[in-house]
């Protein structure tokens, strides 16, 4: 199985991004005004990446990336470029240590999901630096190996967004509420929860994406890519 492609790090960056879980509802509103309905299946992340006018180097990287995706064929690691690391540590975890000792690279030593009676999904992480804060809007990623893949290939990913913030204890443990809740049928207990560049696997939706046009100075303008999550166990 081919490894998912990483997104290119463009010198110009990505101008605008929409990165939200998409839910499909069957609504049944009543004449009284009451909104009834059920949700069909599970929410999946849907992303729109928009580039403004970008320089030649960025344009080359972007076009090469789109070409390598081969339409819908290949998976890529989609992250929210506005929040690659927690808000408290926007430049990563260099030099940070776990509360229990040892360098902290972003991965928690263990994780657990606890869904309360109201359906809120609380994620508990251990092995973080003491007093590390996770703000609303930060992401937690999970990575694991697909059945039959080599150990450590981490070709399966998913992510969730923190909606109720928290601060790690002196012992490096934290509990935050996330959306969407993790599907335990998909994410194995042995998956690694991590805070560095949390990503999910996506495929491009080619008929809604456009690569843009190249103008003076080889600048690329008007590139838009829309992609949807491909969640597999």
């Amino acid at each position: 199985m081919m490894q998912p492609l990483p997104m290119p790090e463009l010198p110009a960056g990505i101008a605008r991004v929409e990165f939200e879980p998409e839910r499909v509802d069957y609504a049944a509103p009543e004449a009284s005004g009451r909104q009834g309905g059920v949700q069909a299946g599970w929410p999946l992340w849907l992303a729109t990446f928009e580039l403004d006018k970008v320089d030649r180097d960025s344009a080359d990287l972007w076009r090469a990336f789109i070409a390598r995706l081969r339409g819908r064929q290949r998976l890529f690691l989609a992250s929210d470029p506005t929040r690659l690391y927690p808000r408290a540590t926007p430049r990563g975890f260099a030099g940070m240590t776990r509360a229990g000792g040892g360098a902290f690279t972003g991965a928690a030593t263990s994780w657990a999901q606890n869904v309360d009676a109201e359906g809120n999904a609380a994620i508990g992480l251990t092995g973080l630096p003491a007093n590390l804060a996770l703000a609303a809007g930060d992401y937690i990623g999970w990575k694991w190996d697909a059945a039959g893949s080599a150990a450590g290939s981490y070709d399966r990913r998913t992510m969730a967004r923190v909606v109720v913030p928290g601060v790690a204890s002196a012992g490096g443990g934290i509990t935050v509420t996330v959306e969407p809740p993790l599907d335990p049928l998909v994410v194995p207990a042995g998956a690694i929860a991590h805070l560095d560049k949390p990503a999910c696997l996506m495929r491009q939706i080619p008929d809604r994406s456009r690569i843009g046009s190249t103008g003076a100075g080889r600048a690329l303008s008007g590139a838009t890519m829309i992609a949807g999550q491909d969640l597999r166990p």
Partner: protein, 214 residues
């Protein structure tokens, strides 16, 4: 009556339910797929995930109206579904459609029950260039399977095949073409069962008079 668990009914009432479908087609090998993203077990059998939201939409029907057959639109490229095309004993294979109700968090399964049963009737594959690839499975429910008559029809033409001069059915020939659905609404009058209004059976007031005149 389908017994839906109290917790599932509460989730439906609250509008927090996540509804997913599953289908099992007893071909050889059997196809068992469901609309979630991870493997699951239903009734002691493993179901493969295809992440298809549409599996839940298929069992339409109106209360008191005629029973309908079920059309399943499946992905034409999903490996778990594609086995169906090469499977043996596909013809009239028994099919079971499940409906599952999850809590709004998508983690807790509140209820799983068999929604419909039927037999596989037609299997159509449609690949549209530049479009979508779908595999359409028509499941015959009890409606059509039980409503089917034998080769004989209560028609004038059929009766005359037996005896050329026997015109017993000449006035009610159209009754043989009228479909009565199993499980459907009871006809209010005999007229609505066999002919409906004057327009029923393709006749109007005037040729109804003609029938009588004959």
């Amino acid at each position: 009556m389908k017994a839906i668990s109290a917790a599932a009914l509460q989730a439906l009432a609250d509008g927090t339910a996540i509804v997913v479908g599953a289908v099992k087609i007893d071909a050889d090998p059997p196809i068992r797929v469901w609309g979630g993203h991870g493997p699951i077990e239903l009734g002691g059998e493993p179901f493969d995930p295809i992440g298809d939201r549409s599996l839940v939409q298929v069992a339409g029907g109106a209360l008191g109206a005629s029973e309908q057959s079920i059309t399943l639109s499946l992905s034409g490229i999903e490996e778990h579904v594609l086995e169906l095309l090469d499977a043996e004993e596909v013809e009239q294979a028994p099919a079971t459609l499940w409906r599952m109700i999850f809590k709004g968090d998508g983690v807790t399964l509140l209820d799983a029950h068999i929604w419909k049963r039927g037999r596989l009737d037609e299997l159509l594959r449609e690949d549209e260039i530049g479009g979508t690839s779908t595999l359409t499975a028509n499941l015959e429910t009890a409606a059509r399977g039980l409503g089917r008559s034998g080769g004989r029809m209560r028609s004038d033409a059929d009766q005359r095949l037996i005896k050329a001069n026997d015109g017993f059915f000449r006035n009610i020939a159209f009754a043989g073409e009228k479909t009565l659905y199993w499980g459907g609404r009871k006809p209010a009058t005999a007229g609505s069962a066999v002919g409906g209004s004057y327009g029923g059976g393709g006749r109007n007031f005037y040729n109804r008079q003609n029938v009588r005149a004959n």
